[in-house]
């Protein structure tokens, strides 16, 4: 799914240079569920942004879905983000003016999808997160957990191959956090690769594989979950769900 | 109140384009405001120039023959007799031009025979001995025409009249050292100055309009004539209607072309200046309003988008007036920059107006007044949103927006 080789990223400001990533290398297979953890400021978000083509990097190579995406134009990167990647943010980042339906609609619009097709996808993804009844609500009318579930629906509506989630549970209580995690596992079980940044060791433990980023490099840690169980789920054919 | 400029400047630096745009707006507004006010002032001065004529109780009837059978001389003496017999009429005269309207002749006048030497251009106005009284123009030297100097018009063999009354301005233009009275001047024929009148605006509207030469009118000349009438106060409109009706029916071959009060004529005369002044003032006022609304809008917007930040400041101990003064000082900085740029612009525009539109050089007092006005109004525009900012509760800092 994703192969990074010696990626480095340097943030330059007037005063200092910050080496956010130092020759980071990582490979994530199709259908994997990876949890990323590490101390604050270690470069997790930077890694995720690069993985999601939100940011460029200074050196190294990055292959996404078998294609080298190191030197793509901004438009091409937008297109890949739109079609292959779904984002889930800590602060939800819903668009406050738009109701739930329209929020989930956003990525589909940029894919120039026909209206009936969009409606079908929006409805089914909202159903998956259990908010089909709230389609006409504005984000402000929902709780934090519900908002995050809308964000998840938005991320999966375009049927991406890769979901990137940056501390999606950071603003939620532990019950909510577990529900969100359940959802992510469900999505993963349908064949979507998930990369999750989290500080919560309990959540991280539920992932198939754990990665530590410290000071801009990956310290690979052994998976703590029974791999066999997750493996089967991950490789189950999508139609079976 | 402590003013720490560094955080302000950094705030400006964060959205420099916005600040720059307001500066630009303020400077253009200032430049236009100052120059427009200056031009309006010039126009108003021209409007307020006294006409020198009684424009309250006077009206004019313009009569024209509609055939070569029209006996203008007979018709005008008939009309004059009728008008002078009407109760309520102070005085009536017949003329060949109408002051304040542009309707009338102009001529060149020389002080040497044979039209030699320097020529002075002037309005000319033929009237009889009642002319000055009708217009309400006082004679300040010499005498008026006598009735016997107004001779009947005999086509083909007219002895030219040889008297003239000139206005003060014309007398001064011709004879800068005084003693115009009794001198002979030359236009198409020689005339002796028998009287000098106070200045009044003559028929010709070009400058200087106060220069007028009055000579005894040859009755009936030209097949048309103008009746100038002065009434007792308050009777003008009724008498105008009456006289118009009577005279319209009186002549078989004559038509009343126009009937109008001098007040109307005067309004038409200065309406050009007045209207330009009105339009300029209007556009400038709108511009100032838009500029202030712009400042108001941007400050409101800044307050809105910095709500949390302001709340945090408040939570950390900033007083309300610290918040208000912060916004006002920020705005004042922008206004000052605008005023500096605007002053340069104003002077450039003023210069250009002087060159191309004959507007006098811009008075610096106007520039100063313009700056004060703009800064004051601009601060006022920012004051309301700044106060709203000060009312932001410290607690917003802890709430998510």
């Amino acid at each position: 799914m994703l192969r990074m080789q010696d990626i480095s990223k340097i943030y330059r400001t007037d005063l200092i240079e910050t080496h956010a990533l130092r020759a980071l290398s990582l490979e994530v297979r199709d259908g994997e569920f990876v949890a990323v953890s590490g101390p604050s400021g270690s470069g997790k978000t930077t890694f995720l942004n690069i993985a999601g083509l939100l940011e460029t990097f200074d050196s190294g190579t990055y292959e996404l879905d078998g294609r080298d995406v190191s030197r793509l134009s901004d438009d091409a990167r937008s297109r890949i983000r739109n079609e292959k990647i779904g984002f889930i943010f800590q602060s939800f980042n819903l668009i406050p003016d738009l109701d739930i339906f329209d929020n989930v609609d956003v990525p589909l619009r940029y894919r120039r999808m026909k209206s009936p097709e969009r409606r079908k996808r929006i409805e089914s993804s909202l159903e998956l997160v259990g908010l089909a009844a709230r389609m006409k609500h504005l984000p402000a009318q929902l709780s934090g957990g519900q908002q995050q579930r809308v964000a998840i629906a938005r991320a999966i509506a375009g049927d991406p191959a890769l979901i990137l989630a940056d501390e999606p549970t950071g603003n939620l209580d532990s019950l909510m956090a577990r529900q969100i995690m359940d959802l992510l596992e469900k999505i993963n079980a349908m064949g979507t690769t998930v990369i999750l940044v989290t500080h919560d060791p309990e959540l991280a433990r539920r992932a198939e594989r754990n990665i530590h980023i410290v000071d801009g490099v990956v310290l690979d840690a052994p998976a703590q979950t029974p791999a066999s169980q997750r493996q089967t789920a991950a490789h189950a054919p999508r139609a079976a769900e | 109140m402590s003013l720490n400029l560094r955080p302000l400047l950094s705030a400006l630096r964060r959205n420099p384009t916005g600040a720059l745009l307001v500066t630009l707006q303020v400077s253009i507004t200032l430049a236009v405001l100052v120059n427009a006010a200056w031009v309006v002032h010039q126009r108003i001065m021209r409007i307020e120039q006294p006409t020198g004529i009684n424009t309250r109780d006077t009206f004019v009837l313009q009569i024209s023959g509609s055939s070569n059978q029209f006996n203008a001389a007979a018709a005008e003496s008939e009309d004059l007799a009728y008008l002078r017999g009407l109760p309520g009429i102070v005085s009536a005269t017949v003329s060949d031009g109408v002051p304040l309207t542009g309707d009338g002749g102009n001529t060149g006048v020389w002080i040497e025979p044979g039209q030699q030497g320097q020529v002075t251009l002037t309005s000319e106005l033929g009237m009889d001995q009642d002319g000055l009284k009708t217009l309400g123009v006082r004679l300040i030297a010499g005498r008026n025409f006598r009735a016997d100097e107004i001779q009947p018009y005999v086509p083909g063999k007219q002895a030219p009249a040889s008297e003239a009354i000139v206005t003060e301005s014309l007398a001064h233009a011709l004879f800068p050292h005084g003693n115009a009275l009794g001198k002979t001047i030359y236009s198409s024929e020689p005339r002796t100055i028998i009287g000098i009148s106070r200045d009044f605006m003559g028929p010709q509207l070009g400058q200087p309009t106060e220069r007028t030469i009055i000579y005894p009118r040859l009755p009936g000349q030209g097949g048309y004539y103008d009746l100038l009438v002065r009434t007792q106060p308050g009777k003008r409109d009724a008498l105008l209607r009456l006289a118009r009706k009577h005279i319209a029916a009186a002549h078989r071959y004559g038509v009343v072309v126009d009937a109008r009060t001098f007040a109307q004529n005067n309004r038409r005369r200065d309406s050009g200046n007045r209207n330009v002044a009105i339009l300029l003032a209007l556009v400038t006022a709108l511009m100032l309003a838009v500029c202030c609304l712009g400042i108001f809008g941007l400050t409101t917007f800044n307050v809105g988008s910095r709500t949390r930040q302001i709340g945090t400041h408040r939570a950390l101990g900033a007083r309300r007036r610290d918040v208000v003064s912060r916004f006002l000082v920020e705005n004042a900085l922008i206004l000052t920059a605008g005023a500096v740029l605007g002053s340069v612009l104003a002077l450039l525009i003023g210069n250009w107006l002087t060159l191309h539109y004959a507007v006098p050089r811009l008075n610096m007092a106007y520039l100063a007044a313009g700056i004060v006005t703009l800064v004051a109004v601009g601060e006022l525009a920012a004051w309301q949103p700044a106060r709203r900012a000060a009312r932001i509760a410290p607690s917003v800092a802890t709430r998510t927006v």
């Binding site: 999601g52 939100l54 940011e55 901004d74 438009d75 937008s78 297109r79 990647i85 984002f87 980042n93 668009i95 003016d97 956003v106 990525p107 619009r109 940029y110 120039r112 | 959205n15 384009t17 916005g18 745009l21 707006q25 253009i28 236009v32 509609s66 055939s67 309207t101 309707d103 060149g108 044979g114 086509p155 083909g156 030219p160 198409s188 024929e189 509207l205 097949g223 071959y253 038509v255 009343v256 109307q264 038409r268 005369r269 309406s271 050009g272 209207n275 330009v276 339009l279 300029l280 556009v283 400038t284 709108l286 838009v290 609304l293 712009g294 809008g297 941007l298 409101t300 917007f301 988008s305």
Partner: protein, 448 residues
């Protein structure tokens, strides 16, 4: 996608109604000010017969006083009218394809059915060429014949308004009417015709260049037949020792200029030949003692004629410039507010970018918002402009100045308004939309 952007734009504009009103109002005011001044300016400066600009020529000769120029401010410019002597001589030439003479006389019209008293009707004495040369449209009938000019025959053409007044707009051709107490046959009635500026006669005297136009037309020679003094503009100079002007015969022989002359010269060759003819006449008269000023014979195209007479007033030009400065302030205002607004919403643009929107799409989305503003501003500005023009007309209703009289709105004005509003506002929105379009997708996502 456009529909989607439109929906987003409306949502965004409605979220900040105050700012939206401010921007639309400011644009509308600026546009309105420009519309008003532009319409007037345009109307004053336009050439109403541009399609004949290269064939119609006004004729001038400097017959003025040898000792001083006609216009002391512009000493090289000849009087714009001709003396009777010169006009009638030049009119005798058959080099021009068409030619005409113009002056105003007094006229009294009487004898229409149901008419009680004669009415004053400013009458243009001219020749048949007038109607042909200036493409004057007729409602009924047509111009009089060349023979009628010679006679002169008692034929008259009524203006549209006069026919309305006297005959209720019915076809009056063939009827007899009393013009200055003589029986005249109506041969034509004009359709509504009021070109502005009144290019063919810019010497309106007291009524201004845009003032009242003629109510009736009769052959030129009737003026001298009936000894009708001209009532339009007339300027005279008297040589020293010459007797003053008294009789009509004096006028015809005098130095007074009061006749406007136009000729139609379709080719350059004819133009040269006619100018040679004028110059030859000048030389002959010069030798005989007239025309003692430097030779200044000139044929003016309509466009040159308009410029010569400084039809566009300084006030108009000044107001136009101020209006554009005003529009500039309004637009800068709009740029500022749009920029602040768009940048404040930049995090949302960042979210959209993360979800796969391209830069162009974000740019387009915001530009559509600007376009909605521009359109609203244009429409409101148009309405304000129409009201403003009505105001200007009212303001100038009793003025000699031509400024307000031409303040009429036409399709061109509307096109101008929409174009001006559209282009200027879009330009104003370009930068803010571009700025927000460049939002990096990651920038606002980390910390919010």
């Amino acid at each position: 996608m456009l529909g989607y952007y439109l929906r987003l734009a409306v949502k965004s504009l409605r979220r900040t109604p105050g700012l939206t009103a401010l921007m639309v109002g400011a644009i509308a005011c600026g546009i309105a000010a420009c519309i008003v001044t532009l319409t007037v300016h345009h109307a004053m400066g336009r050439n109403p017969i541009w399609w004949k600009n290269n064939v119609l020529y006004a004729v001038t000769m400097d017959s003025w006083d040898p000792r001083r120029p006609y216009d002391p401010d512009r000493p090289t410019v000849a009087p714009s009218q001709l003396t009777y002597l010169d006009a009638t001589y030049l009119y005798g030439s058959d080099i021009p394809q068409r030619k005409t003479l113009l002056a105003f006389v007094q006229g009294a019209l009487a004898g229409a059915p149901g008419q009680s008293a004669p009415v004053w009707a400013m009458t243009r004495i001219t020749t048949a060429g007038f109607f042909h040369m200036f493409d004057v449209p007729f409602e009924y009938g047509g111009p009089w014949s060349a023979a009628a000019d010679q006679g002169p025959q008692p034929v008259i053409v009524l203006s549209h308004r006069e026919n309305q007044r006297l005959y209720d707009g019915r076809n009056s051709v063939g009827r007899t009417i009393l013009w200055n107490h003589l029986r005249f046959r109506i041969v034509g009635v004009l359709a509504h015709w009021d070109p502005r500026p009144r290019f063919y006669d810019l010497t309106g005297g007291g009524s201004g260049d845009f003032g009242g136009s003629a109510r009736a037309f009769v052959p030129f020679r009737w003026g001298s037949m009936l000894h009708l003094f001209p009532i339009g503009s007339m300027s005279c100079w008297v040589a020293p020792g010459a007797p003053p002007l008294q009789t009509y015969r004096d006028l015809l022989a005098s130095n007074c200029v009061w006749i406007t002359m136009w000729v139609e010269l379709p080719t350059a060759a004819r133009r040269e030949r006619f100018l040679d003819f004028v110059n030859a006449y000048w030389a002959q008269q010069h030798a005989a003692g007239r025309f003692q000023r430097p030779r200044n014979n000139h044929l003016w195209k309509v466009s040159q004629w308009l410029r010569l007479h400084r039809i566009v007033s300084n006030s108009s030009r000044l107001l136009l410039r101020i209006a554009f400065a005003f529009l500039a302030v309004c637009l800068i205002n709009t740029v500022g507010i749009l920029l602040a607004k768009f940048l404040r919403a930049a995090p949302l643009a960042g979210v959209r970018r993360a979800l796969g929107a391209r830069r162009g799409e974000i740019f387009a989305q915001h530009l559509v918002e600007v376009a909605v503003l521009a359109l609203s501003g244009a429409i409101l500005g148009l309405l304000l402009g129409i009201a403003g023009l009505a105001g200007v007309r009212a303001l100038y209703a009793h003025s000699y100045s031509a400024y307000g009289k031409v303040a009429h709105f036409d399709l061109i004005g509307i096109a101008w308004a929409l174009a001006l509003a559209g282009v200027s506002t879009l330009l104003a929105g370009l930068y803010p939309a571009w700025r927000v379009g460049r939002t990096s997708p990651a920038r606002y996502l980390k910390s919010q």
